[in-house]
Point group: C3
Chain length 224, copies 3
């Protein structure tokens, strides 16, 4: 029988690998980067969100700088992406599924860690989402994209992460948090995210009198 | 009689609300963001500067992650901006005044907090300015604008914040710091900022042989 | 006889000045910044990498906020760049040499400090490189450039820093770390960097089917 903490570590490292792979592939698509850039952007995508969370809750050095396996797995993901060039990026379906899985796991483990460092419910929910979307946001800034988590071209991304973190925090408040609740929260995020992708569900946008500037050309470039 | 610390808390929360409102409106103007993006950018504008300061002085978790009222007020400001769409953005005069008030308060409270954590005079002045301009700078980076605090299209913005932080630190060094000195510093920043807006006072620019690249198209876009 | 720690401080402050000067000149070239922007970007280039490192290892307040000389020297470098306008930017050879020297020193002192705070070998090597390239990366993001450390237009930059940090960490593991090993690591980084500039050595780029988007116009703008 596999120990719970071993299972969680495996899930966390799997999420790290997937995020690194996906982040590196996105970087290859978005900018003229070399091998250093590809691996760096993969690693930042994978460990960036958790590192921001750890800095904010005072868990220093952050997990990725204490346990060498996170950096090693993240670098591995970046190198696999580099080796595959743009070919792996074509396998959109698999990447989307793996990314949704990583998003779900990071939201739950992020909120849980924030709670365990004594933060309140609202900050813990937000830090769960930050763990899930922070790394990709830093990557997008570095390759000069408006972070996809912010704009209407992307389907729901932060909201499923907030839901998963909210379930984990609510279960913890009700003293029923454990592996079943954690997996339920992961499943909720994963389900919402995949449905949003399938049916192209987007968040509401503000009413505006005229089209905005900077994001337009990018939107045109990434529209199907 | 209202207690001093209650007054300061009210001022601080007012500044948080105003910065969130203004940050969210700026985000709506600048990029194609959805409701998640609008609220996120409002919150980041409001709490970003104080959070950077708190990380640098070792005050973790940062204030905005310890006292739920900051996050709640910041989210409220972002939601009001989202609800109003671009209409509220037209009320330029009021926004400019409220923003100048927030700038002034954050510069003073930021420098004061840095001093109280044992930092020296020069770092405290700089961290006061970072508290005041940091959130807007992160927001500008996320929506792909050259931060307005850095360039010559903007009227004086960082300098009044530095003046206010400098007054607070000088008063503290002279052991005459209290609510009167704090309000004097706030008033100085507010006055300089509003005069700079009224008479379009800008900081000197470097001599150059040829126009620069990246900021040009943006400048053209935002010029009156 | 000069004490070792005095020598190291002089080297560190020299690196800080050079990075601030170079960072400010780059900012003048890249964006329409005013004096506040030039000095701010110079300071960020000089102290940004070390500040990220200090936050990650838990050394707060970071060195630049504890010892006023770092901020003063960095501001001085920024002001010299502002005063010279774009003229100093023409002296490419000297700037490149000084920048390579700063890169080398920061990689070694960064890795050494990370080790002294108890981090493992791999994180220490990475934090050495982060110390060396982090400030310039933040500056590039603020002036809306894809950080040069990430892309193939630039010659080897992160790799010599990683080599220097690796030598320092290896010497420390072998218990032979001291000023000679530190200077050897500095010399290795400096030599590799200057050879890469001289012979335009770049890192491998990913295979791709079609040209990437965002970085292209920039590349066209900076190509000889």
């Amino acid at each position: 029988m596999v120990h719970e903490s071993t299972l969680l570590l495996v899930l966390d490292l799997t999420g790290t690998f997937v995020f690194a792979l996906n982040g590196a592939l996105t970087a290859i698509e978005a900018a003229r980067v070399d091998v250093v850039g590809v691996v760096t952007l993969g690693v930042i995508t994978a460990i960036g969100g958790g590192t921001i969370r750890d800095l904010l809750i005072g868990a220093v050095p952050p997990a990725a700088f204490q346990d060498w396996r996170y950096l090693a797995v993240a670098m591995g993901g970046g190198l696999v992406a580099f080796g595959s060039g743009q070919r792996l990026g074509k396998v959109t379906g698999i990447i989307t599924i793996l990314d949704a899985a990583g998003l779900s796991m990071f939201a739950v483990t992020g909120a849980t860690k924030a709670l365990s460092f004594g933060l309140g419910a609202m900050p813990a929910v937000i830090l769960g989402a930050v763990t899930a979307v922070g790394g990709g946001t830093i990557r997008d800034v570095l390759v000069r994209r408006v972070p996809s988590v912010l704009h209407s071209e992307g389907t729901l991304y932060a909201i499923p992460a907030l839901v998963a973190a909210g379930i984990a925090v609510a279960a913890s408040s009700a003293h029923v948090y454990g592996l079943p609740a954690a997996l339920g929260a992961v499943a909720a995020c994963f389900g919402i995210r995949m449905l949003a992708v399938r049916y192209h569900v987007t968040a509401p946008v503000p009413r505006r009198g005229q089209p905005a500037g900077p994001a337009d050309s990018q939107s045109a470039g990434t529209a199907p």
